[in-house]
Every structure is written in structure tokens, then in C-alpha cells.
């Protein structure tokens, strides 16, 4: 055992990043959750004769905009993380506001996209997969937006600083994950089904 190990209270040092580690583990679990859904998608896909089934049409226009919105929001959030690491709290607030606006725009536009579709959830297995998977993702976006909202309140009320920025880091990890899941959904429901 080194001398440093005996004289340092490791709990105090390592304890600082527990919330971030907790979030990483939570996201690992969430990844398995969506992994299982994608597994279901491919199980059913591999047994289907035509995909998507006849009469089902998905339009790639709006979803492409959705993808752009979500990717931009990840970039703005990461700029916010960089700002708080350098102690630029004013910039953190701006980037968080922008991220939240992009996130809410995503939700509104996706709701509009749902209203434009020519199939309902009961009309076969493709619609089932489509609505359940994108719907569960949407719920995660809402959860992420709430999380970011809470971080924003903390930022505005001066509870965050260069030393105490784990809430921003944790929320960012979650938000990027939700972003990655969307890219997966965009690939299997729009890119892969273009005729």
C-alpha cells in the first residue's frame, strides 16, 4: 500500500463523482432497455415477408429535421458543460436555454409528425413497433427535458459552479444517450424503410 493511500481519505476524493457514476450505470441499464426493444424489432423484421408492410408509409422529411434538432441540442448542451467546467456560468445558462428550446421543439414537431401518419397503432406489427419504440423514446426526451429544467433552475439559483458541476455532467450523459437512441430509431424506421 502506498503512503498516499494510507493518508488520504479516499471516500472524500472519490465520492465527488458518485452521481456521475450513478448516471453512467443508469444509462447502461437504459441502453439494455432500448437494446431489448431493438432486439424485438429485428426478431420481427427477420420473420416478415415485406418491410414495412404494404400500405404503411413513413415520410423521412420531418424525422430528418427531428434528427437535426436533437443532434444540435446535444452540441449546445456539451458547449454548456464546457462552459461550466471553465466557470463561465452566464454561458452555461444560455446554452441550457438553447438546449431546452431545441428539445421542446423536437417534442412538438414529433407530435405533429404523429398526426400526419397514415396508420394507427392497432394496424399490425410494424405500427406496433413504431409507436411503442418512438413513444418510449419520446417519454425519455420528456424525462431528459425535465432533468435539464431542474439543472437550469440550479444554474439560475447559483447552486452550480466550476467545482460543483456534476448535475450538468449527469444530465448531459443522459441527454446524449437519448440522442443516440433517436439516431437508432431514425435508422430503423425511416432510413431502412425508404422505398
Amino acid at each position: 500500500m502506498s503512503l498516499a493511500e494510507t493518508i488520504t481519505d479516499e471516500r472524500a476524493v472519490r465520492g465527488t463523482s458518485s452521481p456521475v457514476l450513478g448516471m453512467v450505470l443508469f444509462v447502461a441499464s437504459e441502453a439494455m432497455f432500448f437494446g431489448a426493444l431493438f432486439g424485438a424489432y429485428f426478431t420481427i423484421y427477420s420473420g416478415a415477408s415485406s418491410w414495412p408492410p404494404k400500405g404503411i408509409e413513413t415520410n423521412i422529411g420531418i424525422p430528418a429535421v427531428l434528427t437535426a434538432l436533437l443532434i444540435s441540442s446535444s452540441i449546445t448542451l456539451q458547449l454548456g458543460v464546457a462552459a461550466v467546467r471553465r466557470g463561465r456560468m452566464d454561458r452555461l445558462n444560455r446554452w441550457l436555454e438553447l438546449t431546452l428550446v431545441l428539445g421542446i421543439a423536437f417534442l412538438v414537431l414529433q407530435a405533429y409528425d404523429y398526426s400526419q401518419l397514415n396508420f394507427g397503432i392497432r394496424e399490425g406489427v410494424f405500427p406496433s413497433l413504431f409507436y411503442v419504440m418512438t413513444g418510449l423514446h419520446m417519454a425519455h426526451v420528456i424525462g431528459g427535458a425535465v432533468l435539464l429544467g431542474m439543472v437550469y433552475v440550479q444554474a439560475r439559483t447559483g447552486q452550480l459552479s466550476m467545482e460543483r458541476h456534476e448535475p450538468v455532467e449527469s444530465a448531459a450523459i443522459y441527454w446524449h444517450f437519448v440522442d443516440v437512441v433517436w439516431i437508432g430509431l431514425f435508422s430503423v424506421f425511416y432510413l431502412a424503410t425508404m422505398r
Binding site: 458518485s18 457514476l21 450513478g22 441499464s29 431489448a36 420473420g47 410494424f126
Partner: protein, 544 residues
């Protein structure tokens, strides 16, 4: 002897108060651990009564008490309760109480989340059990809830789904808490290779929970959607697949089995060295085995589906057989720990030795089921019922009881009666074998599991009667245990800090420990810090 000061506690420690409210609002990992035990043993009682009712019905051919629909609810709820509301939370209870003590921490990493993950348990459990009071009764599709038969169920099935979703959240939060606690809150000197083996088992269990439970969550959501939103995931006439449920369920379900046994391996691997007066023979071998099993358990799920005719048989057969390698290593290590030791046959040791003898049977009879051609003959028969109970009762419940007798003085300040403990052990051992050993033969004679009745001309009657008698013996053994606990709790606190000459840090603090766990910590230079401290004390002539 060398002692490092425990770190200063900055938050003021409130005086320990008694009363119900302090228990309802506690965030102390030790109290939450006790709550886990109370909750788990309560559900153990419920699940046990359901089992006795089943055995009573099956004692003779013909329908005596429970018509099929009632019987189907009994076995569904028995399995669900024992797996999700007794064994897993019980092991989590040990983890809650002893992981922070084992690593020399003040508490879990997230004490309030810890309280939340406990309180979700009774909520989820009561949701499931409340199915009995709905029209149509509780869930009746088995704990595996295969579609499409589960899609036909009534309100009880919905309550089952919702209850399990709640329990899943509870397990997930608990698992994250354990991993963060173990990785971040270790005392100075407590490196990963000095972790008590029980902590390793909790770490492996928690990783499994984090990565496997989501598959169950997904499966449950899809089943709920098929039942209520008109989706077609499991409807082959609309492009769905009924086997999709089984893939998702067993992707969770097989790691789940290891989540239910790893903790018991950890407990037994703590107890054997203490009561043999020797270190665990191959600490690194055991840790490596735990990690191999954790990894392999994600590759074997379809061995539950050999008879569907829809899975890659050789692949899932070889991965399943590979798991017997690290499991074999565990047995060798346990035996080698006993070799040339000085075995103190107190109740914790009796249960630990019983664990080895019984879990061996559960391990070996699994070998038949791992070979697909053989599995075609025995899957979904009572052979499988025997196998799972030799693993989860002969293994885990013996391990849990070993842990209860071992740690009871630490948790309550009072040691359980050894005399009653011996009675408990022998009645449980005999009752257990009388119940479950005949089920192997029943399985070989073709008795399918989950049948409410059987014809008298099938040659199953005598063995079923035997199993029923055994089940009542198990019931008696549990009453002895209950009596032991009640009698002991009425006695004054007289347990010393270290009644067994233990190895791990919990024995360095008082019994029961103070709210902040440790006043002082010994220097940690091996995976047996308290053993080292005892030796150092002897060497310095009894001066502390």
C-alpha cells in the same frame, strides 16, 4: 496495533430514536437492511403457505380443495413471490446491511434512493398479491407468464405486470446504489482485491441486475401494450411472434437465476473460512469464477427454449455447459478451504455445509438439462422443478439461513439459540430432500409441471404424497426458526463484537454497530483485516 481514525462525520448524527416513524423515514443502511429482512420473510411466509396449499392439493390424485383456476394462481404467485419478493430482496437485505460495513463506509452512496428502492418493494408486492381480490383472481399464467396464455388473463395479470415493473425499478435503483457504493466508498486500504468475497458477489449481482432487468421491463411493456393498446407484438396472425416473449424473458431470466444464487455463494464463502479457521482457499479463483459466470449468464438464455424447436441448439448447449466450469471451481475452493481446517460446527457452518451438499445436486442435475436431446425429455417436467429448488432452496435458502445465524448477533446484539438452530437445520435438510428429491423421479416418469391434477394410474401418487409430507416438514423447520428468532429477541443484548472470530470489518465494531458504523477502523492490509488485527493484538500481548 495500527489504527486509522475513521473519517470525521460532518453531518450531525441524530440520536437514535425508537418508534415507528423513525423506521418509516430511516435512511440508515442498517435499518433499511432490517426492513428488507422483515419484508422478505413476510413474503416468504406467504409464498410458503401457497406452496403448502399446492402440495396439499397434489398429495392425492383428483381435485380435493383447489379447482384448476385456483391452483394455477397458487403456482403463479408462489414462483413470483419467492423469486421477486423473497430471495432477491433477502440477498439485497444482507447487501444493504453488510456492504457498507464490509468496506468500512458510513452508509450507502445514495441513502435516500436506498430508502426509496426498499419502499417500492412492498408496494410492488402488494400490487401483485392484490390480484387475489379482483374478479377472476390473481395472475394465473406462471411466473414466466408465457404469451399468448398470459394475454388471456384478467385484471390479476395486469396487476402482476405493474407490480413487476415497480419491483424492477426497485432492483435497478438498489443495484446502481451498490455498484457506486462499492466502487467509490471503500475505506483507505480496501482495494478491490481486498474486498470481502460477499461484496464481490453483491457487485456481480448488481451488474447483472443493471444489465438484465431492462429486458424484463421491455417484455412487460410489450405484453401490457398487446393486452390494452391493440399492438401485435405477440400475435402471429398479425406479424408478431410468440417466441419473442420467451427470448426477452429468458434474456432477463437466466441472469436472474445467478442474481438469486451469487449472494448465497458470497455468504457461504465468508462463513466457511471463519468456521474453518483458514482463509478462503483461492480468493482470486472465486472472484474470477463470479465474473465468468456473470458474463456467461448472458449467453445461455435460449437453453430454456430447446423444446420450441426454434433456437440454435449446439451454441446454447455449449455455453450452458461452460458455466459448469467456474461453478466447479467454486466447489473445489470450498472443499479446499475445509481441508486441514478446524471446523466449528455452529449453526451458520451447518447451513453452509448443507448448502454445499445440496447445491451440488442442483448443479449436477442441471447437466442433464443442458444437453438438448436429454432436455427434450425432462424440460417442463418435475425434473426441472426439482432442479430449480435444489439450486434456489438447497442453494440459496440454505445460504440465507447460514447468513441469518452468522450475522444475527451483529444485527441484533443477540445470538440465536444453537440448540434450536441445529433442530432447524436437520428438519429443514430432511424436509427439503423429502420434498424435492422425489420430484426428479416424477419428472423422469413424465409428470409435467404446473398441472393441477393427475390421473391415479400414472404411477405418480406415492412420490407426490412423499413430497407433500416433506413440504410440511419444511414448514415445521421454518416455525422452529421463527420461534428461535422470537425467543432470542426477548433476551437481553449480550453479544460481543466478534463472537465467531470473523475476518471482515463488521466484526471490528460493536454488536449492533453504532449509527455511524465505526469509531475506529483497523489498518486494511489483506482481505481479512479483522483477522490481521486479532493477530497483531496477540503478538503485542493483548494490548490494544
Amino acid at each position: 496495533m495500527a489504527i486509522t481514525e475513521a473519517p470525521q462525520v460532518h453531518t450531525p448524527q441524530p440520536e437514535p430514536r425508537s418508534g415507528l416513524m423513525t423506521w418509516l423515514t430511516t435512511t440508515d443502511h442498517k435499518r433499511i437492511g432490517i426492513l428488507y429482512f422483515i419484508n422478505s420473510f413476510t413474503f416468504f411466509g406467504v409464498g410458503g403457505v401457497l406452496a403448502l396449499l399446492m402440495r396439499t392439493e397434489l398429495a392425492q390424485p383428483g381435485t380435493q380443495i383447489f379447482p384448476p383456476h385456483a391452483y394455477n394462481q397458487l403456482f403463479t404467485l408462489h414462483g413470483t413471490i419467492m423469486i421477486f419478493l423473497f430471495i432477491f430482496p433477502m440477498l439485497n437485505g444482507f447487501g444493504n446491511y453488510f456492504v457498507p460495513l464490509h468496506i468500512g463506509a458510513l452508509d450507502m452512496a445514495f441513502p435516500r434512493i436506498n430508502a426509496l428502492s426498499f419502499w417500492l418493494l412492498p408496494v410492488g408486492g402488494l400490487t401483485i398479491v392484490s390480484g387475489f381480490f379482483t374478479k377472476g383472481g390473481a395472475a394465473a399464467a406462471g411466473w414466466t407468464s408465457y404469451v399468448p396464455v398470459s394475454l388471456q388473463g384478467g385484471t390479476g395479470q395486469d396487476l402482476w405486470i405493474i407490480g413487476l415493473l415497480i419491483l424492477g425499478v426497485s432492483s435497478l435503483l438498489g443495484a446502481i446504489n451498490f455498484v457506486v457504493t462499492i466502487l467509490r466508498l471503500r475505506a483507505p486500504g480496501m482495494s478491490m482485491i481486498r474486498l470481502p468475497i460477499f461484496v464481490w458477489s453483491v457487485l456481480a449481482t448488481s451488474l447483472l441486475a443493471i444489465l438484465a432487468i431492462p429486458a424484463l421491463t421491455t417484455a412487460l411493456i410489450l405484453q401490457f401494450a398487446d393486452r390494452h393498446l391493440g399492438t401485435a407484438f405477440f400475435d402471429p396472425t398479425r406479424g408478431g411472434s410468440v417466441l419473442l416473449w420467451q427470448h426477452l424473458f429468458w434474456f432477463f431470466g437466466h441472469p436472474e437465476v445467478y442474481m438469486l444464487i451469487l449472494g448465497a455463494w458470497g455468504i457461504v464463502s465468508e462463513i466457511l473460512p471463519v468456521f474453518s479457521g483458514k482463509p478462503l482457499f483461492g480468493y482470486r479463483g472465486v472472484v474470477l469464477s463470479f465474473l465468468m459466470i456473470t458474463a456467461l449468464s448472458f449467453t445461455v438464455w435460449a437453453h430454456h427454449m430447446f423444446a420450441t424447436g426454434a433456437v440454435e441448439l449446439p451454441f446454447f448447449s455449449i455455453t450452458t455447459e461452460l458455466i459448469s466450469i467456474p461453478t466447479g471451481v467454486l466447489f473445489f475452493n470450498w472443499l479446499a478451504t475445509l481441508y486441514k481446517g478446524r471446523l466449528k460446527l455452529d449453526p451458520p457452518m451447518l447451513f453452509a455445509l448443507g448448502f454445499i451438499a445440496m447445491f451440488l445436486i442442483g448443479g449436477i442435475d442441471g447437466v442433464w438439462a443442458a444437453s438438448p436431446a436429454m432436455d427434450f425429455a425432462i424440460t417442463d417436467t418435475y425434473w426441472v422443478v426439482a432442479h430449480i429448488h435444489y439450486v434456489l432452496f438447497g442453494g440459496t435458502v440454505f445460504g440465507i439461513m447460514a447468513g441469518m445465524y452468522y450475522w444475527f448477533p451483529k444485527m441484533t446484539g443477540r445470538a440465536l439459540s444453537a440448540k434450536l438452530g441445529q433442530w432447524h437445520f436437520w428438519v429443514q435438510l430432511i424436509g427439503f430432500n423429502l420434498t424435492f428429491f422425489p420430484m426428479h423421479i416424477l419428472g423422469l416418469r413424465g409428470m409435467p409441471r404446473r398441472i393441477a391434477d393427475y390421473a391415479p394410474d400414472r404411477g405418480w401418487t406415492f412420490l407426490n404424497l412423499l413430497a407433500t409430507i416433506g413440504a410440511y416438514l419444511i414448514g415445521v423447520s421454518m416455525l422452529i426458526f421463527l420461534a428461535n428468532v422470537i425467543i432470542t429477541l426477548r433476551r437481553p443484548r449480550d453479544a460481543v463484537a466478534d463472537p465467531w472470530e470473523g475476518n471482515t470489518l463488521e466484526w471490528f465494531t460493536s454488536s449492533p454497530p453504532p449509527p455511524h458504523n465505526f469509531d475506529v477502523l483497523p489498518e486494511i492490509r489483506s482481505n481479512r483485516p479483522v483477522y490481521d488485527a486479532r493477530k497483531a493484538q496477540l503478538a503485542s500481548g493483548g494490548q490494544s
